[in-house]
């Protein structure tokens, strides 16, 4: 099939939606489909051959993080040209409620349109204020996909429309059989990966748990990977413990698997607002057992605690106890890793992409995607 994917967020800034679009595009290409992605990008040289530049996006604070958005005549012209140049069988817009390329694509296109909704945000101001303005574009969508139950609920509550559930995929092949980073793999290690200065990623909870963990497991180490101000984090650590904490900063995508493999346990202490636990699945694909906050999305991914340990959100004592127990019980770690792999198999991108293609097939075929008549744009 000829498939057009619209990504609303800047391609060369790390983010879940961008990663989803990239993995989906590459899996679809591997399966023999023709795929073109349109996306905002800062440095055009970072774009792969299958992607098209929609312009530079403007950073705007939104929903506790920084969203980078793009709307305007130049990008609209680029989206229109992209639609004209490719005779897509289906157009798949990601997060079309964000004022960016995906919304533009929905406004400008007509025909077999599909959208995936990623955000779970019960109090989204954009959705509350903007749903009337969004309606004309969103009512063109023949199929709506939510990546999580929470994302679906957000959609139902704000836009009064249903959606089918197809979760995020995991590039299982990239994580299987990963080797630890140099210097790791011997001492017990807790691994963390995520933006270190974003409170909802929960690094503070793990930092508060760490001294208690050291009391129970004296030789434990902590590996913290992810972008953010490492000096600020370092300055808050007890100097006596500094030697056991490695703040490695942003790791290249290719090294993520090694970060997971370096941990005896992977810790996800997020404090809420996670739509989906993709990072948990990646750790599980690398064969590392997971200890995660008991939030909705994580509970689902961890099969209610059967495929990984859950602890009370923002409870350092409980987290420390769980980490210590797991580190000292290799048999339990192996059991969790085994169940983790079984869970991950269902989220393999190759499987997920097949489900998505199934949706494409159901809603397309009668006509290709066209540019809507001018008075409708």
């Amino acid at each position: 099939m000829r498939i057009g994917l619209a990504c609303p967020y800047t391609w060369d800034v790390p983010g879940g939606v961008q990663a989803h679009v990239r993995d989906l595009a590459e899996t679809l290409l591997d399966a023999g489909h023709e795929v073109s992605v349109i996306t905002p990008v800062d440095d055009e040289s970072t774009l792969p051959a299958y992607a098209v530049d929609a312009g530079r996006a403007v950073p705007v604070p939104y929903n506790g993080s920084v969203a980078r958005l793009l709307m305007g005549p130049v990008s609209a012209a680029r989206v229109r040209r992209w639609l004209r140049e490719h005779d897509f069988d289906v157009l798949h817009a990601h997060e079309p409620t964000a004022p960016s390329v995906s919304l533009l694509a929905c406004m400008l296109a007509d025909g077999p349109l599909v959208a995936t909704f990623h955000t779970a945000n019960p109090r989204s101001r954009i959705l509350t204020a903007g749903h009337r303005a969004l309606r004309p574009s969103l009512e063109k969508l023949r199929a709506r996909i939510a990546v999580s139950e929470a994302a679906r609920r957000t959609l139902v509550e704000h836009l009064g429309t249903g959606a089918i559930l197809i979760p995020n995929g995991v590039a299982v092949r990239a994580f299987e059989g990963a080797r630890p980073l140099p210097g790791y793999g011997t001492a017990p290690t807790v691994a963390f990966l995520g933006r270190i200065d974003e409170p909802r990623k929960g690094l503070d909870v793990l930092m508060a748990a760490f001294p208690r963990l050291v009391e129970k497991v004296p030789d434990v180490r902590l590996l913290v990977a992810g972008p953010g101000d490492t000096e600020a984090v370092r300055s808050r650590i007890d100097p006596a413990l500094l030697g056991r904490v490695d703040l490695v900063g942003l790791v290249p995508e290719a090294d993520k698997a090694a970060v997971f493999a370096s941990g005896s346990v992977y810790c996800a202490p997020n404090t809420g607002q996670e739509s989906f636990g993709i990072v948990l699945l990646e750790a599980m694909a690398a064969g590392t057992p997971v200890v995660a906050s008991d939030i909705d999305a994580f509970r689902r991914v961890l099969d209610n605690g059967r495929a990984g340990r859950l602890f009370g959100v923002g409870e350092p004592a409980e987290l420390a106890a769980n980490l210590a127990e797991l580190i000292e019980d290799p048999a339990e770690r192996a059991r969790l890793a085994e169940r983790g792999r079984a869970v991950v198999a269902r989220y393999d991108w190759r499987v997920i992409a097949q489900s998505i293609v199934g949706v494409y097939e159901m809603v397309s075929g009668d006509r290709p995607v066209s540019v809507a008549a001018p008075e409708e744009s």
Partner: protein
């Protein structure tokens, strides 16, 4: 003179807005038609899969329900509405697929069971797409301006298609779903 200009501008603005509303309604009607056609295709596929399972495993009642559903599909293809008659026939097929005799087939007919499962999953998706489209039409057509000015023209308001399309729960191990394009993991 100014008054004339203001009136002309106002008329143009209002006419543009109404044309735009009417074009949205047109496009939505097209989406409902496409979704309805897609749903009928999936209902037919499910009845075929159920019939095949019934034939291979000598399940008389399932065969009967699949036949009845198929008989209704001819009318649907000819343009009959997806009304209560269709709903009843499809519900009967859903129930027949969950009958103890059918459920017990489980592992003995993995191919056929997988085909039924996949078709039933697609029916559920197609129904969601259809009902979402119907919901969008009804919400726009329900606006006072649209009703007062009859912007929907003579198109009747489309109806939701409500059936029980819960997937059959097979006894013993369910067939693996990983290679099934319509099976939604985690759903």
């Amino acid at each position: 003179m100014t008054v004339v200009v203001v009136v002309v501008v106002a008329v143009v603005v209002i006419a543009t807005y109404l044309t735009w509303l009417a074009s949205r309604l047109d496009r939505l009607a097209g989406r409902v038609d496409a979704a309805r056609a897609g749903l009928v295709v999936q209902l037919m596929a499910r009845a075929d899969a159920a019939h095949e399972l019934a034939r291979r495993r000598d399940l008389a009642e399932l065969a009967d329900m699949a036949e009845r559903a198929r008989a209704g599909h001819a009318a649907l293809l000819a343009g009959a509405g997806l009304g209560t008659t269709a709903e009843d026939a499809e519900n009967a097929l859903s129930r027949a697929l969950r009958a103890p005799a059918v459920v017990a087939v489980g592992q003995r007919a993995p191919e056929e069971v997988r085909a039924v499962d996949s078709a039933a999953a697609r029916v559920a998706l197609a129904r969601q797409f259809h009902n979402d489209a119907v919901g969008d039409v009804r919400s726009l057509a329900g606006r006072r301006l649209v009703r007062v000015l009859h912007l929907s023209g003579r198109r009747p308001l489309p109806a939701y298609f409500e059936i029980d399309d819960a997937l059959p729960a097979w006894e013993e191990d369910p067939p693996p779903r990983s290679d099934d394009p319509a099976g939604i993991p985690g759903a």
